[in-house]
Amino acid sequence: MSFIEVKNVSKTFKISKRRSGVPGMLANLFVPKFEKKEAVKNIGFNIEKGEMVGFIGPNGAGKSTTIKMLSGILYPDSGEINVGGYIPYKQRKSYVGRIGVVFGQKSQLQWDLPVIDSFELMKAIYSVPDDVYKKNLSRFTEMLDMSGFIEQPVRQLSLGQKMRADIVAALIHSPEIVFFDEPTIGVDVVGKETIRSFIRELNEQDNVTMIFTTHDMQDIEKTCKRLIIIDEGSKVYDGTLSGIREKYGTSRQLDVEFGCMEDISSIDKVDIIELENNKKRFVFESRDVHINELMNHLLSNYSVRDINISEPEIESIIRRIYNKEVVEA
């Protein structure tokens, strides 16, 4: 039995369809018309204790709905969810004390008050013992470099500072599982790095299970080993980051700078793109074309000055998965 088990979970929302005009409005009021939208379709996965998993997918793919079901905010229509022995939406009160949730777009801090006041309130809400609170607070403020602004009102903080404070607020009760919903949104590069290394450290040191949603692939690359891609409510990939390259990222590109203008019209199964200054780019699938043969062919027939081989960037692979441009290799 895994720590988190999700089996065949689906969730459909009814979206009210609006009719126009005054009669339409009255009709909307008394006989509402609904359209069904399947936000999550038959999703399943297991997560072990201490794992760090990234959820990605385009907007509206069902990431947030999945997180909301896992954290107990929404009831699934069908399927089973079990987290550490709890059914989140049924055993809400005992369950949510063991999790922490950070919504990047929705702060839970007291806007008008100093940051520390929000932490004190969290302490009371979660009945955190004094010693645990003190230990966590001093540890987190140091790790996230927050001592400079902990006494400042939240409304005076920058986005990055606010986000760091929000993360501490969600962790002050030492949760076993933490959900991050876009934790680096709107944060500058340095701030993002601080947050990522904090998340990494916490996972390593405390064995906290973490689930992430993000649009920033850097977040995933720098923190998670495992990645789940959701698109249109279904799981389309579940595995390691490097696995995604093996599975989908089978194309390679070879950039070659020639000594002079060479006229290479065609090579079987290779796309040739002309670049500036006698450079050409060769794009091919690694299973169709053997790289050694291609390089040998080029080196022996033309004057090659420089050669550079690269894999496509992970972001472009994922974009192509969303766009259904790639199929499993």
Binding site: V22, M25, L29, R155, Q156, L157, S158, L159, Q161
Partner: protein, 264 residues
């Protein structure tokens, strides 16, 4: 000065309002109910007498429908500036290449026009069909009523404008706005016809801007004022607009220098 951006803002507000049809219909029902209930209360107060102090029931109902209707139209957004100061967006707003005050007026006018057509008119029609409303004293008086009502809106707008400017210092001015609205509601005649105010109170009212918001137009509509009095009252409205606006404008200039931008 280019007018097109301001017209765009006014249009945006006008169209924005039409998106909330349900709320809007509730507002109309709400105003009608208040109107009916006030009429009922006065029916009970009159207890069968046809007139008291020369004021007849039709005059009372006309007063209420006009004052309440205008009250629904004259709805300056009191939180236009305070909200922008509170969330810090005022800083970027001031960088736009258009006049902030101009935009404020444009949005208020867009709203007012919407309310005039879709709030005041339906309420007026319902009132005419049910309780009955007196016709204006004459066509000329009706035109003068429109003029005076527009000036009344100017007075109300200027008051709102000046009060909003205190947000530069106080940031959260819910209380001030609420207190302002108490004065407007009690002293402008929208809840009690000012004829029934005690003599001393009416004397005091002559020295405040409030009675010129709704009561002056209502009196003109009913033909209670001579041309000389109308000229005088409209002049008083103009003076109030100028004085209050100037006070607001001084605060506006000082406030910008003192701008405390919240948020990061």
């Amino acid at each position: 000065m280019r007018l097109s951006p301001y017209i765009a803002y006014a249009k945006k507000c006008f169209l924005g309002r039409s998106a909330y049809r349900f709320d809007h219909i509730m507002d109309i029902i709400s105003t009608c109910m208040q109107f009916f209930i006030f009429c009922e209360i006065y029916k009970a107060l009159y207890g069968g007498s046809s007139e008291i102090d020369g004021i007849t029931m039709p005059m009372i109902t006309t007063n209420f429908v006009l004052a309440m209707g205008l009250n629904a139209v004259f709805y300056p957004d009191d939180y236009f500036l305070p909200n922008k100061i509170w969330d810090g967006s005022i800083a970027t707003e001031l960088l736009r290449p258009i006049s902030f005050k101009g935009r404020m007026i444009a949005e208020n006018l867009g709203n007012a026009l919407f309310s005039l057509i879709f709030h005041f008119l339906p309420v007026l029609i319902i009132a005419v069909l049910t309780v009955g409303v007196s016709a204006p004293a004459s066509a000329v008086m009706f035109l003068l009523f429109l003029l005076s009502a527009a000036l009344g809106f100017g007075v109300l707008w200027a008051i709102s404008f000046a009060v909003q400017m205190t947000a530069f210092w106080l940031i959260n001015i819910w209380s001030l706005i609420t207190i302002k609205n108490v004065f407007v509601n009690v002293l402008s005649g929208s809840m009690i016809p000012l004829w029934f105010m005690p003599e001393w109170m009416r004397g005091v009212l002559d020295f405040t801007p409030f009675s010129s918001i709704y009561f002056t137009p209502v009196q003109i509509y009913l033909g209670q004022l001579s041309y000389g009095e109308i000229a005088l009252k409209c002049a008083v409205q103009l003076v109030w607009i100028a004085v209050i606006y100037l006070v607001g404008d001084i605060l506006w200039k000082k406030g910008q220098q003192k701008l405390v931008v919240q948020g990061g």
